[in-house]
């Protein structure tokens, strides 16, 4: 009897890699791709790691492939920007053992800073890209990708999105097929990309792309054409296929499994067989532009738009005149006003709360970065003025200070998380030192990569399997980069933090404050909630934005004991000492990530 499981798309990719005999996996976490690598780590015959960033992960994957092991690297769409440098030349060198790159897009911007379309990477790097439509295809396309990679001597990209990565559907499991290491032989003309070899390899890239384009026309894995009512035909791929099948059950559908290179002749054939040709795709008109370049008249983005995700109703509405039977029910319209929104918020006990409370009080200009602490932009803190991408806070603060002058610099700080600093902040700090910047950097060291769901990193002291690992000293890194003023403190020591901010922003040079306290979700120890007596209604504690505190009709504050974790920050800010903390907050060293995981730190 087949072993059928209900798996996330991400878990199915991991399973596919395992079944395909993959041996090395290197990734940096990024929603919605993170669970692939976490699932890989559960297979003990795989060498899985959290790398410090996507570029390093891609380079490890390149080396492992050339060294003869089937290899996987996974990232979110903006992670591929970081890894784009090795990617474009890896397209020239090709592979030895199969190399598969998973990139997860985020249309609808559920957990990202933009909604870019990764398919253009495949086209501009001349790499094949497979696009699974559900978890079952995630498994089978991953296995196919390893085979194609070796057959065509190319890295293969698998493109997913939130609704494939984070959707569960039924998957039939198979067995692992071992792929012993391929021979490693020196081959500098293939793997050393000086101008001479690169010119030769560019010819190979073009030849390879032509073979893949030919295969796309004839191979059974490249596409399926489902002829039904021929008055209307829809070309689609991935999750858009699922919406089209449901919204337009009678339409003919051309489902692309590989979106680059495209099967031009097969598309011409489908277009010739149907009346109105429609294109359903999320984000950019990637397929539509290619179809139009063939001289074929079609309609797509003029009806669906480029914003956000598609859905069954959106496809129905966009292609209304071609939908039969006509659209289903019309949802209830609400007479009542829109319920108050519930955006994500810093958790009760979050160490970032103390930092943003202090930054907001001092009215600093704050150059921000990517992590849970980006929530510092939201009320009541409103303490972030810029956030671009991983590691950008330091360079942007330096640039702001160059543009606005020394007076501005004394009122400006950059904030960055521990994982983000190691990902791509260290080089910017070096730049600031070298170019004699006047800059204050706060490293928010919560001992974990938090926002993506608690992954270990080089400072956390553990590897992906929760085994002890070397824990780097962030202060020593800053000193080694040439920063002369580095200090560490517990951000809950508000006076110390405030003094440090005052002194370091006044210093004409680069200084670093490491605000060190573990993520509140790592602590299993639950302290008794605080109590409030004789509230004077001043509202100071409400500026913390704690989910456990609420202001009543009369302005007095009460605490929700089910939400409060007893961190005691509110009792520290109350000017009237009306909030009682029954447990003076433990030192941050005392409740490390290690303690939370029930393990001993080394």
């Amino acid at each position: 009897m087949p072993d059928v499981r209900l798996l996330l798309g991400n878990e199915a990719i991991a399973r596919g890699a395992w079944e395909a005999g993959c041996r090395v996996i290197a990734s940096y976490p990024g929603t919605p791709s993170t669970e692939i690598t976490e699932a890989c780590a559960r297979y003990h015959d795989l060498d899985t790691e959290w790398s410090v960033n996507e570029k390093v992960a891609m380079e490890i994957a390149a080396g492992a492939s050339i060294g003869g092991a089937r290899t996987l690297t996974c990232m979110k769409h903006v992670g591929l920007n970081v890894a784009a440098d090795p990617l474009f030349t890896l397209a020239y060198t090709g592979v030895n053992a199969g190399l598969v790159i998973v990139v997860a897009d985020d249309p609808g911007v559920h957990s990202s800073q933009n909604e870019q379309d990764s398919r253009y990477y495949a086209r501009s790097a001349h790499l094949p890209m497979l696009v699974p439509a559900d978890a079952s295809e995630c498994l089978s396309f991953t296995k196919l990708a390893f085979d194609l990679s070796e057959q065509y001597d190319t890295p293969v990209i698998i493109g997913t999105c939130t609704r494939v990565a984070h959707a569960r559907s039924l998957v039939e499991l198979g067995e692992r097929a071992e792929h012993p290491s391929r021979e490693w032989a020196r081959n500098p003309s293939k793997y050393v990309m000086l101008p001479g070899p690169a010119r030769a390899r560019h010819i190979a890239v073009e030849r390879r792309e032509n073979s893949l384009r030919a295969a796309a026309e004839t191979a059974d894995w490249a596409y399926t054409a489902e002829y039904n009512d021929k008055s209307v035909g829809v070309i689609c791929a991935g999750t858009a296929y699922q919406y089209v099948k449901e919204a337009m059950p009678s339409a003919s559908v051309f489902k692309l499994n590989m979106v680059y290179p495209l099967p031009d002749e097969a598309i011409r054939g489908f277009a010739a067989h149907v009346g109105q040709l429609l294109i359903a795709e999320e984000l950019e008109p990637f397929i539509e532009d290619a179809v139009k370049a063939l001289g074929i008249n079609c309609s797509g983005k003029d009806r669906t738009g480029k914003q956000g995700e598609l859905s069954v109703n959106k496809v129905r509405a966009a292609f209304e005149s071609f939908v039969s039977p006509p659209s289903g029910s019309v949802p209830d319209t609400q007479d009542a006003p829109e319920p108050p929104a519930r955006p994500p918020a810093m958790c009760a006990g979050c160490p970032h709360r103390a930092v943003f409370y202090s930054l907001a009080r001092r009215k600093y200009t704050v150059s921000g970065d990517i992590g849970c602490y980006t929530l510092g932009m939201l009320p009541p803190h409103g303490a972030m003025d810029a956030c671009l991408c991983m590691g950008a806070s330091i360079g942007m603060a330096f640039g702001l200070n160059k543009a606005r002058g020394a007076g501005f610099a004394r009122n400006t700080v950059a904030v960055i998380g521990d994982s983000t600093f190691m990902h791509s902040g260290m080089t910017a700090l070096l730049d600031a030192v070298y170019n004699r910047a006047s800059l204050t950097l706060l490293i928010l060291d919560n001992r974990i990569t938090g926002m993506t769901g608690h992954q270990h990193n080089p400072a956390s002291g553990f590897d992906i399997h929760n085994n002890p690992a070397p824990s780097v000293d962030l202060g020593a890194i800053c000193s080694a980069l040439g920063v002369t003023r580095v200090r560490s403190l517990d951000p809950f020591e508000l006076t110390e933090l405030d003094d440090a901010l005052k002194e370091e922003t006044a210093f004409d040079g680069v200084s670093v404050i490491i605000a060190r306290r573990p993520c509140a979700l790592l602590s299993k120890k639950r302290c008794p909630p605080v109590t409030i007596e004789d509230c004077r209604k001043c509202g100071t504690c409400m500026r913390l934005g704690c989910p456990a505190l609420s202001k009543g009709e009369d302005g007095s504050v009460s605490v929700d004991p089910t939400q409060c974790v007893g961190c005691g920050l509110c009792s520290r800010v109350c000017p009237f000492h009306a909030i009682y903390d029954k447990n003076p907050a433990a030192s941050p060293e005392g409740e490390s990530a290690a303690a939370a995981k029930g393990e001993t730190r080394v």
Binding site: V4, L6, L8, T31, P32, T34, E35, H110, S111, D134, R163, V164, H166, A167, R168, S169, L170, T239, Y241, Q242, Y243, K245, E246, S311, V312, N313, G328, S329, V330, P331, D332, Q334, A336, P337, P339, P340, A341, R342, P343, P344, A345, M346, C347, C372, L375, L378, P379, P380, M451, T452, G453, M542, G545, P547, L549, S550, K551, Q563
Partner: protein
Amino acid sequence: MISNIIIVGVGGQGALLASRILGALALRLGRDVKVSEVHGMAQRGGSVITHVRIGGEGDLIHAPLVAEGEAGAVIAFEPLEALRALPYLIPKRGLIITNTRPIPPMSVLTGAAKYPSDVMESLTASPDRQVAAFDAQALAEKHKAPRAVNIALLGALAAHPILRDETTDEPVSLTVWESAVADAVPPKTLESNLAVFRDSYYSSSSNSLNPLK
């Protein structure tokens, strides 16, 4: 016929386990199923929504998301989130199972917005809509399983005939439901979870389906 179920709540309340139990139920019934979950930033105290689609016999599920206006049931861990999910329900009909304990969003805590005082009235405004509203937290705590709010809500869902065994046209039996719970929860917590599940199932079955105001 496809059963569309929306699960809503606040990040961290246990919606993922609820959807995993429904997934296990579909597997036991031999039906096609798709579940769309939320991972990442929205975990942090924000609104979260999970879509569960379970096919009837022979149905193939395509879309991973429930379309607005097509959900047979909304399971809500928090009343305001139930209100937010109303557009997903079949217009004027469908079933709402909601916890009655409010969790105010940040804008309400700070006094910038008001928690609507008429949430229950809005939920029960359509006479043909079934609403089961109860303190699922209290029910879970009664069995010393304070985290089993999700199990309490599913127990109430099981008492309603939204999921049917198509060969007999009977609602899915308590036995099958309990096996699905056992498939998904850690063995250590099975006993207390089943106690919560049965308590909720029987108290929902004995209550009328009339809106609880």
